[in-house]
Amino acid sequence: MPINLDDPKKFRPLVGQAHQVAMNMLRPISRKYDRAEHEYPKELDMLAAMIDGLSESGASEGAGAAGVRREEADSDTSVKNGTNLASVMSIAEMCWGDVGLLLSMPRQGLGNSAIASVANDEQQERFAGVWAGMAITEPGVGSDSANIKTTATLDGDHYVLNGEKIYVTSGDRADHIVVWATLDRSLGRAAIKSFVVPKGTPGMRVDRLEHKLGIRASDTATLIFEDCRVPAENLLGSAEVDTKQGFAGAMATFDNTRPLVASMAVGCARAALDLTRDLLAQAGVTVDYDRPGLTQSAAAAKLLQMEADWEAAYLLTLQAAWMADNRQPNSLEASMAKAKAGRVGSDITLSCVELAGSVGYSETELLEKWGRDSKILDIFEGTQQIQQLIVARRILGLSSAELR
């Protein structure tokens, strides 16, 4: 099969659907929930039901954050365009609509990705259809997530969780939370396990909701765990503390979720690019691809540069997802995609505000909102700096002790 980097033909209907949903459902309520922070976007319930229906009918390949689990090995060695590609493409499309609303989509939380990535078959089945948020960050622990202080202590057939988690996306709305906690702080990162905690479990409570720069439609909660008892079988994956395998199990989730966040940045940036290109065309500025940027207007040259950067972020994202679809290790490429998409997302959305002037800065257009929404995508699921660290370690062949 020849090299081909065009969008996979088989996902055209899926992407088309996602685009229609983004345009006709998310965009009309985009500004509403940016203003009404913490208000539940009730319109999403119907949308989630529709997406569930589509997946059940087989008409869709998962329009949300679920379905990033690597398929079991089979003998078929042909090149696959599978669920990972489908996910990043449809998420990009939905985030062209609204990043905050995509993050609030019922049953499409990052916790669902964690379950899909590391749960065993029995757990997959038991947690099918839940809406799971993801709780990793703590007040004193951000990028150094191996250093978390929340503890899980085995007591009979239950684990007892104690600690404080911040920045939990949909932490109040989701019906389950996947919590990272350590079985034994002295054993370091190998002892960190993830636990699925159903909402309403005694000992878990929402402390407060954050007021944010962007993605205001998405709730961000602080959760407190006080002697919160979770059934032992809710520990995802193996309970064994394997110091050799170390952190790899928990971190494997990131190989799957980073391309998804990259695709969010790609989608949000394209929203800004599409509108700005249209606004500039109305002002008489269009890009001639065959002529050098320097012989065109500064605005056209900037548009050309942004589009090139955007395309790079998009293709790096597709590459990472394609590798996952074809069972190739992709943690380097996943980090490359997130690093590039994260910074390009900010540059593009902010430059589009600048190009559009007061039209871009005013709340009458959505450009200023995208300029705010995009920033989180260069922060969560590993900041720009963490991605660079991962890429550098891989390229240079250095351990985390050597390159800190």
Binding site: P2, N81, A392
Partner: protein, 454 residues
């Protein structure tokens, strides 16, 4: 120009034309005149100066007639030539080269490592590719990569993707030498793409035989803010052909070339013309540049060059010309990717071996993050280039994709060159290491038009 303006400092030596001299400036300028004068030499006031070495292959004007062969006209001028089909598009996202492409890349990679890289420093100094290297490049089939099988080449379908992979692999050895080796094949590929039956029958046998002529695609011009789609070189229609006038710059191996493809404006539309080097009115002179020196860059001057009516390559609507420009930009993107990879492969062990403050400098984030960014942007450049190449090979419109690839490769390629030198510090600035050469070569991306295509 008046005498007064002639005395002004501007307009020469890189001084902007608006500059003026104050009294001290006049004094310094006078001293400089004195310093340059023979007089002080005669009175032995100056230490023996080192002899300046003018490292250009050919200096001064030279009329082109000598080495040119005669291309015997044959074939049917009004018939279209042989065309290869577009590569079939399967609609599946795939980054795996075909088996044939991989084999080709492996051969060229080995050639780049074992032959090209060792010859690069010397070729940069002498502004000339070694004869043996060019011969060897013929043996691995570079000139016939884009020539249809039916005409003695190896191309069964559009070869833009294979050509891109080959150019990348070759540039990993050296960009200048890659251009020197790819230039004849570029003209052959152009003949395969747009030549009439007569043009293909007349010229291609020379490229598929043992004695492959040097040939070059001359599109660049010495114009600030040059727009390749509006060349100042003109073609004027006459009763039985065209008369070409103008200047083409940065033409690879122009002094050896026996066949040129020259871009000229015909009634305001850019058109490609086949010009044999024996045609009267052609003159060539050395035009060495910041980089790409191994390609023996030359300036080609056309003064009332008369060519027959069937010298037009492709159409006169500007379509084949635009296609040619895009395929050429694609080739330069591939060259940038290969050179960027050379930089990354070189700095990676260097920063791990170089110690400062008691540990390898690679252990410092400011250093490691530069390497990470080189890797990220290099892969970005590669993916954009491959996307454009795959679309070209599949016969799809790729004007947008190649424009994006070129924009990114120009910006990020230069950044990679800069960071490569910076990571080596003082060692990056001296010729003991190849990084300063890559820095100079990478500045060519985004400037060069023509010369090579895939």
């Amino acid at each position: 120009m008046s005498l007064i303006s002639n005395l002004g400092p501007g307009g020469k030596h890189g001084v902007p034309s608006g500059e003026s001299r104050d009294p001290i400036g006049y004094l310094v300028a006078g001293l400089n005149r004195l310093a340059q004068s023979d007089l002080i030499d005669r009175v032995r006031l100056r230490k023996p100066a080192e002899q300046a070495v003018f490292s250009v292959t050919r200096s001064g004007f030279k009329t082109l007639t000598a080495a040119s062969r005669t291309f015997a006209k044959t074939g049917r001028p009004s018939e279209p030539g042989v065309r290869v089909a577009a590569a079939p598009a399967k609609g599946v996202f795939d980054l795996t080269p075909t088996e044939d492409e991989q084999m080709l890349v492996d051969v060229v990679t080995e050639f780049a490592e074992e032959v090209v890289r060792p010859a690069a420093a010397e070729a940069n100094e002498s502004c000339e590719a070694p004869e043996a290297l060019l011969k060897a490049s013929l043996e691995i089939g570079l000139p016939i990569l884009g020539v249809p099988e039916a005409l003695g080449g190896i191309s069964e379908e559009r070869s833009a993707m294979a050509g891109t992979l080959v150019a990348e692999a070759l540039a990993k050895g050296d960009l200048g030498l890659a251009v020197a080796a790819l230039a004849p094949g570029s003209v052959a590929t152009a003949l395969g793409l747009w030549g009439t039956d007569a043009q293909q029958q007349t010229y291609l046998p020379a490229f598929t035989g043992d004695d492959v002529p040097a040939a070059a695609l001359a599109l660049n011009e010495p114009t600030v803010l040059f727009d390749v789609l509006s060349p100042s070189t003109t073609a004027t229609k006459t009763a039985d052909g065209y008369v070409l006038n103008g200047v083409k710059t940065l033409v690879p191996r122009g002094a050896q070339a026996e066949l040129f493809v020259v871009g000229a404006s015909l009634d305001g539309t850019p058109v490609l013309f086949l010009v044999e080097s024996s045609t009267p009115g052609l003159a060539v002179e050395g035009d060495p540049a910041m980089g790409v020196r191994a390609a023996s860059l030359t300036k080609l001057t056309l003064t009332d060059v008369t060519v027959p009516a069937d010298a037009v390559l492709g159409d006169t609507e500007g379509t084949s010309y635009a296609e040619c420009v895009r395929l050429s930009r694609l080739a330069w993107c591939a060259l940038a990717v290969g050179t960027g990879q050379a930089v990354l492969d070189y700095v990676t062990p260097y920063v791990k071996e170089r110690h400062a403050f008691g540990e390898p400098i690679a252990h410092r984030q400011s250093v490691a993050f530069m390497v990470a960014n080189i890797a990220i942007e290099l892969q970005s450049m590669r993916l954009l280039t491959y996307k454009a190449a795959a679309r070209a090979a599949a016969g799809k419109d790729f004007s947008r994709e190649v424009a994006l690839a070129r924009s990114l490769c120009a910006d990020k390629g230069m950044q990679i060159g800069l960071d490569g030198v910076q990571l080596l510090g003082g060692h990056g600035f001296v010729k003991e290491h190849p990084v300063e050469r890559w820095y100079r070569d990478l500045r060519a991306i985004g400037i060069m038009e023509g010369s090579v295509l895939v």
